[in-house]
Each structure stands twice: as C-alpha cells, then as structure tokens.
C-alpha cells in the first residue's frame, strides 16, 4: 500500500489560494489519488480524485505530475469554512478494500 506524506499544518487567509502537496513515492500503477476533507466530529468528505495530469471540479483542482509520486490539492480563494483537516489517500483495485488514512494536513484559514 502506498504510504502518503503531507505537511502537518498550514495557515492561510481568506481569499488566498491554498496548495497542499502529498508525497506518495511508491504509488502503484493502478492506484488513484483521492482527497478528503474532515471537519471536527464529522466523517471525511470526498473532494476530488485523479489518476494523472490535472482534474478540476467545482471546489478544487488536483495536479499530478507525470511520475505520479506526488499530488497537489489546490483550493482557490479559501474561506473560513475551509478550515479543516485534508487527507490524501492512494489506492486502486488491488487495495480498494483497505484504504489507509495517513496524517492529514490541518488547514487554518484566518480572516
């Protein structure tokens, strides 16, 4: 199973763009990269998923370089409500029944 490494915490201000990078050096060929957001006392919530290059949805973008050994979650123009813990998970068909959370990134958005 691919192990992930993320920064423990990040600070930002409202209206700024935030980029959170996740390292996953031993990602397998069939693995996808999925990001979740978690607020205190709530279950993690799916944000975005990708395999390679760039993926964008209504809330975030995900950048994955050609070697796929890292990925970057980009949150445009963050607001106070984006203060949460963000997790990067790596898994695929071979490991889809045992998705492991690493240590997430605690994002604090200040006014």
């Amino acid at each position: 199973l691919a192990k992930t490494t993320q920064p423990i915490s990040m600070d930002s201000y409202e209206g700024q763009e935030v980029n959170i990078t996740c390292s996953h050096n031993n990602i397998a060929t069939n693995d996808y990269i999925t990001w979740y957001q978690q607020f205190p006392s709530q279950g993690p919530r799916f944000i975005i998923q990708g395999y390679k290059t760039k993926v964008t949805n209504e809330v975030a973008s995900l950048f994955i370089p050609a070697d796929r050994k890292s990925s970057t979650l980009s949150l445009p123009r963050v607001s106070l409500s984006d203060t949460a813990v963000y997790y990067c998970l790596v898994g695929g068909v071979d490991s889809s029944y045992k998705l492991i959370f690493g240590s997430g990134t605690r994002l604090l958005v200040r006014p």
Binding site: T34, Q42, Q49
Partner: protein, 114 residues
Amino acid sequence: AAGVIQSPRHLIKEKRETATLKCYPIPRHDTVYWYQQGPGQDPQFLISFYEKMQSDKGSIPDRFSAQQFSDYHSELNMSSLELGDSALYFCASSYQGSYNSPLHFGNGTRLTVT
C-alpha cells in the same frame, strides 16, 4: 441524496460492557468500511466487507467483530469494552462496480466508555 446512516450517534457504556454499532450504506453500494478515530488522531482502518464477505482487515482488536447482512447494512460488535475504545467510529460505503468509487462516510458514532 441518500447518505450513509450510522446509529446510534452517541453511545455511553461502562468498562467490560458490549456495544453494537450499525451502519446503513448508500443504496446500491456493496462495500462497507469501518474506521476508528480517537481524539486528535487520524482515522484508523478496522475492517471492510464486500458483498457480505469480509474483504480486508486492519488494526481491529480481537474483542471486536463485524458482519455485513443481506440488505448490505453492517454491524460492528464490541465486547469487553476498555477505556481506550472511546472514539468516533465511522462507517463508509462505496460501489466496487465503479472503478475507484470514492468512499462516502457517515457522521459517525461517538462511543464513550466510562
């Protein structure tokens, strides 16, 4: 849209008692996962089920058992409870028929052991 439903939301038990947590997945989802999250910690994978069969196991104590029923709901049974079992327990579901279907989590059961 229907979400993952967990019950109860809160549960208080004493040491050495038993507890049963229930999870109702999103309709058509065939896979259920259980996670434990202690205070200030990251979610820890316990166990998963696909089509009513155990599919993988993580750091689940022998005192815990789980199963998935014919209607795809799942129950996590915890016996001989210890103070250290106090945590949030999350259930998630996904549809394996969709390649890399993301997990959808419930809002958890908060278990307090006194």
